[in-house]
Every structure is written in C-alpha cells, then in structure tokens.
Amino acid sequence: MLPGVAYFLLFHYGALVGNVIAFKEYVPFDGLWGSPWVGSGNFRRMFEDEAFWDAVLNTLWIAVLQLVFYFPVPLGLALLLHTLTWSSVRRFVQSVAYLPHFISWVIVVALFQQVLGDTGLLNSGLSGAGLHTVDIIGDPDAFKPLVVAQVIWKDAGWGTIIFLAALAQVDEQQYEAAAIDGAGPWRRFWHVTLPAIRPVVVLLLIMRLGDILSVGFEQMLLQRDAVGPEAAEVIDTFVYHQGIVGGDYGFAAAAGLFKGLVGALLVYAANKVAHRLGEQGVYR
C-alpha cells in the first residue's frame, strides 16, 4: 500500500499544492516557493486576454461537436452489435472496432495525414480521376470536423464496451415476455432496451460534461501547427504554450487551475441534476 500512497501524495497532492504558482510570478532562480506573490494578477491578466477566450471558445465548440456527433456513435454501434445473433461475426467486428483505441495519437494523426493529406490516398484518387484535390489536414475551417472524425475513428468502437455490458445485463425473459405479448422489435427496443441503458447513458453524459474543457490535448497539440492556433488552440494547449513553451508558468497555471475548478463544478452540478431526475449519477 505504501508505494501507491506515496505516489499519490507526491505526484498528485504535491503537484496540487504547486498550484500556488498561479498566484505567483515564477522566477526560475528562486524556485516555486521563493518566487514573489502577485495575488490575483495572473487571473486578471487571463480574463483580459483575448487569446485565452479564443481558446475557451474553441474548446467549447469542439466539445459540443463531439457531444452531438461522437457521443451517439458508440451507443448506436453497441445497439447494432447487440442485435447480431451470429456471435462469431459479432466477436470479429468487436475485435476490429476496439483496436484503434490502442493506437497512439501520433500514429492516428499520421494515418489521417496519409489518407486525407494533400498527397494522401484521397487526393491521389481525386487527381487520378481528374478532379480537384482538397486539403483537409491543413484547412483551419475543416479542423473541427476533422478532429471529431478522428475521435470517432479511434474510440467509438471502444466506447461500445460499456453499453454492451449494460445491454447484456437485460434479462432475456423480458424480451421474450414482451414478444409473447405481441410487441414487435421496435416496441421491445423502446420499452425494454432503452430503459435498461438509460442509467449508463446519463452516467457517461455527466462524466463527459465534467470533462468538457478537456478535448484531446495530444490530438490538438499534434495538429496545431498545421492549421494555426486560431482553429486549434484549446485551453490545454494554451496552458502548454504559455507555460512550458513561453515560460510564463504562473499565468499558465492560473489558466489550468481555472479549467480544473470549472470542471469539478460542472461534475457537481450535473450530478445534482441527475439526482433530481431520479438517476444514480456518478456518486451519491
């Protein structure tokens, strides 16, 4: 037990305490503790910084797009897989669909470059057919749909696991009883399947909401150079570029702390709402 506890104390709580840097002006020579206090100066600067608000806006945009276009995909795929009665086909599709989850973002981005980049598979095909080529990877306007497509490719299959688990727990007899009572496939779906997975859907929505200000740090960082910060800067990459690259540690930590606080607040609020609606939520 001790090594694990020591790890959490040092690298989580130790680092958590390090957030005091958000109220300081970091001077490398003086270190974390010797640096001078600046009160809420970093926060005031942050709220007046246009680039920060642009990053917040980008983050929210991508989060909303993911919620609308990504979130339903694993659910739909799970429902589809669940209706398969041929279990060897089902297992094969599952194995293939889970796989991209284990591929690193570096490789995923490289794969997308190869398929959609200006010299990639798609454009070779287009120019071969005498059509105009499209630059999807380098186009700032295409960036947001692109990153959502990447998330779907990488994690939609993996996301089915939890829905499939919920579906597997539905008592087979409920379906049978409903069928004998004359309920067709749609009625059975509506009255047996949906109520069974509702708690899981709510749970995942809450967790997603708490995480809404984190939208794939590595994914954005890898592709930010191709389309520029206007399209690709999110809060996490803002923190990275201000702090690690720019050396403005106090300011960057303030932005990070802001993100953490808002995230925790959102989970709390979403959980409250879930309880109101009579759901279990993440915790009680």
């Binding site: 694990g4 190869q114 990639g120």
Partner: protein, 295 residues
C-alpha cells in the same frame, strides 16, 4: 451461446434490415483496416513505385524490405526502439506492483486508513493537479532528462486501480478466510490466493499500462533531450511534423525521410500493439466490466 442462435420468440429480420446491418458492419471493418493496409503496403514498396503512384501504394508489386534496412542502419530509430521497450517493460512492472498492492489494501475491509486513502485517490480523478504544477514538480525533483520522468509521474492510474480493486472484491470471502485459518499473512494471501485468481484482470490492467507507456510521447517531448527520445516522439518529429532524419552516428541532418521509410517507422511503432492485442483481447470485456460496473 452457439454460433447462430436466434431465440424462438425472435422474428427473422427483413432482408432490407439485414442488408443495412451487413453494410454498416463492413464499413466499420474497412474503415479500421484499410489505413493500416496502406501503411504496411507503402512501407514495403520501393521508393520508385511510391513516387509513380503519387505517394501511396495499396498493394506493392515488388515488395522490398529496403525501408526497414535503412531504418536499422541509421541508429536513431533502433535507439528509440530500445528506449520505448525499456520504459514500457520497467514502467509496466513498477506500475503493476504499486497498483496491485494498493488495490489489495483498499479491497480488504477494515484496513487502517482505508477509507480516507480511497477518498484521497478518487478525489485526484475529479481534480487533476494540472500540467504546469506537475512539470515544475518534476523539474524541482531533478528528474528532467531521466527516464524516471516518463514513469514516476504516471505510476498509478486511478481507473486501473479501481478495476483491480473491484476484481479483488469479487473474490469470495471464504477463500480469504480459509487462507487466514491456514496461517497465511497478507503477503501470502495476496501472492498465493488473490493473484492466481486475478489473471484476467492483471492481464487487462497490465496491457493498459503497457500501451500507455508504449504510446506516450508528450512527456518525452517535455522532459527529455532529443537523444533520449522514445519511438513515438521520433515518429512525431519525423513523420507527423516532417523534419529531416538525423543520423545518430554522424549527427548530420539528412533530407526528409522518404515516404517508405516514414511508413516503416509507423509500422514499427504499431506492430507491438498488434502483437499483444489478440492474446489479451479475450480478457477485455471480463476484466474491464468487473471494475467498471462497480465504480
């Protein structure tokens, strides 16, 4: 369940529905498989064929291992491969050891301090410390440019911990009691009773750790000098960002690596995942669910 068992009450779906389903499933499989096929094919093609084809090859006419030979001559990829393998193996073992001991302690009722420690751990999930403080901590601990900086800051993963704890809790209490009556201490119980019963969960959690270490590049870019880089960071620099490959022995920067070489690096970074995947895949659902359902 047998290969194709439709319960008696379920009606046969209409042909149109069946066709739509088959189409959707085929699309899923192709969307995953085709990109990999293109990468592997291109890495095996000759540079000339790639140029003739305009950048990519779906099926090489004369497969050659030239690209791979170039890579292993160069030095930088070989070295990075060694770093990645070393960090992955050492990191996975260390992480497993720490996670197993902590998960075991937290799974037993009445352990001194169990409840507060559990809350302490779960809270970190809700409120992560943030990138800048973590970076400064690693810096102040003097871990910059050491391989330990890739392992220690991510030693225990809360999700993995919860999965293992859930699995340990699902072991029948009678087994613990029997071992106790035989005079076994905590270590004995853990090693000879709990661990042999938890192979599925250990395999899954071990895989998660291994994949995370193998795939990690951001910490390397943050904490390490370029001559210590693991494979993913090399991949990022030379393939995604398209920088020129530097010869590790001469230090001379060459022109951007040819497409075939870039794709070969990609293949090398992916292959280990594809190799362990089939062996562990059967444990996923079982291992993940016991933990996830309880959390």
């Amino acid at each position: 369940m047998s290969a194709s068992a439709r319960p008696g009450w379920m009606e046969k779906p209409r042909p149109l529905t069946q066709a739509a389903k088959a189409l959707a499933l085929t699309a899923v499989v192709l969307l995953v498989c085709v990109p990999f096929l293109v990468i592997v094919s291109t890495s095996l093609a000759s540079t000339q064929e790639v140029v003739d084809n305009g950048g990519w090859v779906l099926w090489p006419t004369e497969p050659t291992l030239d690209a791979y030979r170039d890579i292993f001559d160069g030095g930088i990829v070989t070295h990075a491969l060694g770093v990645s393998a070393g960090v992955t193996i050492a990191g996975t073992l260390l992480s497993l050891a720490c996670t197993v001991t902590l998960a075991y302690a937290l799974s037993r009722p009445g352990v001194f301090g169990g409840k507060p420690v559990l809350l302490l751990v779960l809270f970190t999930f809700l409120f992560p410390p943030g990138m800048i403080p973590s970076f400064l901590l690693v810096k102040e601990l003097g871990l910059l440019d050491s391989y330990a900086s890739l392992v220690l800051p991510v030693l225990v993963n809360v999700f993995n911990l919860v999965v293992l704890r859930g699995f340990f809790q699902s072991i029948p209490e009678e087994l613990y009691e029997a071992a106790r009556l035989d005079g076994a201490g905590d270590w004995r119980v853990l090693v000879s009773v709990v661990l042999p019963l938890s192979k599925a969960a250990l395999a899954v959690v071990g895989l998660f750790y291994a994949v995370a270490y193998w795939n990690s590049w951001f910490y390397a870019s943050l904490y390490l000098e370029s001559d210590h880089w693991p494979l993913q960071q090399v991949l990022r620099t030379y393939v995604v960002a398209g920088a020129g490959l530097t010869d590790a022995t001469t230090g001379e920067a060459t022109v951007t690596a040819p497409q075939t070489v870039q794709m070969a690096v990609l293949v090398i970074a992916t292959v280990p995942i594809l190799l362990v995947y089939p062996f562990l895949q059967k444990y996923f659902t079982k291992g993940v669910l016991t933990g996830a359902v309880k959390s």
